[in-house]
Symmetry: C2
Subunit: 319 residues, 2 copies
């Protein structure tokens, strides 16, 4: 990661006709960025022009995913992390996939540090994505907005998801570096980290580290992470409201980013695999009862072995 060369507009080498605002997008201009994101979010005709225009210009931005249980102080931590990046003169794009996120000023009175503190800073661009009740749609849109930020020269793209559903885990999984945020005592409310989220973590954070039992939560997370992955995952303690531990977090993210590298190809692979599995899962659930009953009856009657039944079941899903 280095300072964005926002004043250097890459030459158009695509040979295609580009609308006049596309160089402005690639130059990182705010109005063009807003327009491009709106286009890809709404899948307008202009979206195709945008996606075409940004091709070949990806791979500079480090994409950092933040997810975790509600109540872990994730949004406040993201805001503090963004402030730290700005201190380091890095430009930031934020994709917030959380309807209750205070990032967009939506909710939760009393948060002392809110994303609105960055609202006057052109180096920070926040876009909140509304859930459309369509799982694949949301991670697809998030991936495209990430790419637009990347092409527009943002040094870091932060993706914030609430982390309680499969959809949110899949979106966070797209990121180059994934941070899972927890807080002491949340487990008591049956809101603890789910195993599926833990498995995608590159960094585990115990936020609200000023609360009792933070050390214990950190030890437990470290034990779980070591057990699950066979290798050590960093477990950091932060207190986002007090700004404690945030510089360490930024350093750790940057170090992992240097090792893993921004990788739009790997991000796109994961997106495609997640979308495909989602489509197949829905397809299996939506198969006609008659087909499923027929296969089940044939298996029960001994007329069909299970492998043949599976073969036929999967064949029914063909596009």
């Amino acid at each position: 990661m280095q300072k964005s060369p926002a004043d250097t507009v890459p030459a158009d080498t695509s040979g295609d006709i580009m609308p006049d605002w596309l160089p402005a997008l690639l130059g990182g201009e705010r109005a063009a960025l807003a327009r491009a994101i709106t286009a890809v979010e709404n899948e307008t005709d202009e979206a195709r022009v945008v996606l075409h225009g940004i091709r070949g210009r990806l791979g500079r931005a480090l994409v950092v995913g933040f997810t975790g249980a509600p109540g872990a102080g994730k949004s406040t931590l993201v805001s503090a992390y963004v402030a730290e990046l700005r201190q380091r003169s890095l430009t930031v794009g934020v994709v917030a996939v959380d309807p209750s996120s205070p990032l967009t000023g939506g909710a939760i009175l009393g948060d002392r540090i809110r994303m609105t503190r960055h609202s006057g800073d052109p180096g920070v661009f926040v876009r909140s994505l509304a859930s459309r009740g369509h799982l694949g749609g949301l991670s697809r849109t998030a991936a495209r907005v990430i790419d637009v930020f990347d092409a527009a020269g943002r040094d870091v793209v932060v993706v914030e998801t609430v982390g309680t559903g499969q959809s949110e885990v899949e979106i966070a999984e797209i990121a180059d570096v994934r941070v899972v945020v927890n807080a002491p005592g949340l487990g008591d409310d049956v809101q603890a980290i789910k195993a599926g989220i833990l498995e995608i973590a590159d960094i585990l954070v115990v936020n609200k580290a000023d609360l009792p039992f933070a050390e214990r939560a950190a030890r437990q997370l470290a034990a779980m992470a070591a057990r699950k992955n066979g290798q050590a995952i960093p477990v950091l303690q932060t207190s986002a409201t007090a700004g404690k531990g945030v510089a360490d977090l930024a350093d750790t993210i940057a170090a992992i980013g240097r090792r893993k590298r921004p990788d739009p190809r790997a991000r796109t692979r994961r997106l495609l695999q997640n979308l495909a599995l989602d489509r197949l899962r829905k397809g299996l659930a939506a198969l006609p009862d008659a087909e499923l009953d027929g296969l089940a009856d044939a298996v029960l009657a001994g007329d069909l072995d299970i492998d043949t039944a599976l073969h036929r079941l999967i064949a029914l899903l063909r596009p």
Copy 2:
């Protein structure tokens, strides 16, 4: 559910040659049951004869799945539930899918009530299934052992799984009635119930109800369950070691069993859907890098839209 007519051997109407011990299996004889389960577990040639011989004889046994976090006292609760069923003169088969389960005398010193208390009772037959490191294999084997118990006239088949992985959730999902067991304070150890498990629950149990905060845990579970399913799921409190609440649990299971009915066809449908999704998930993860990179690159270059890429990706999974 009614008392097993263990002395009534159904006539063979299949027209096939049956080994002489198959009538003994259908009559519920213990040695034949052990032999049949071993056959289906090891997928020997005899397994085909067994599965053939039991066809058309399924649907009498109520299959009850128990799953939940380690430490919830699930095995002790299962043992107490089995004792309650025996009090009611019902015969039981137990399929234990938990390598650390004390049901088979494997572990955990100090458990006061263990399955071994049923070891002299011909009305209880326990079979522990070892994980073979093959997810689909385990739920397939569990389903077949369930069917053998059913055909052999067991009134109730209890399936116990540890409930921390996708595999275990899928096995519990096969059951007609699914019980999810939790205990107060487990959340503190980041071991709380996962959302995926909660979604399959017909009954939620807070075991160890003599511990502090049991009421609170029950209230929280009730709130989560109501929120997730749009309808009320019974939340019961038990203390398995003291035998408290176990009769209530048996009554509630029986009531739900009368409503949902033992349904081997529905169990087989769920088995097939789970196995198919598992196969597709593994297929997606195992696709050659070159294929995935090619699709990702084409999407990034704007040569392929995502829907077409998904179509091709899914086509690569063709069996």
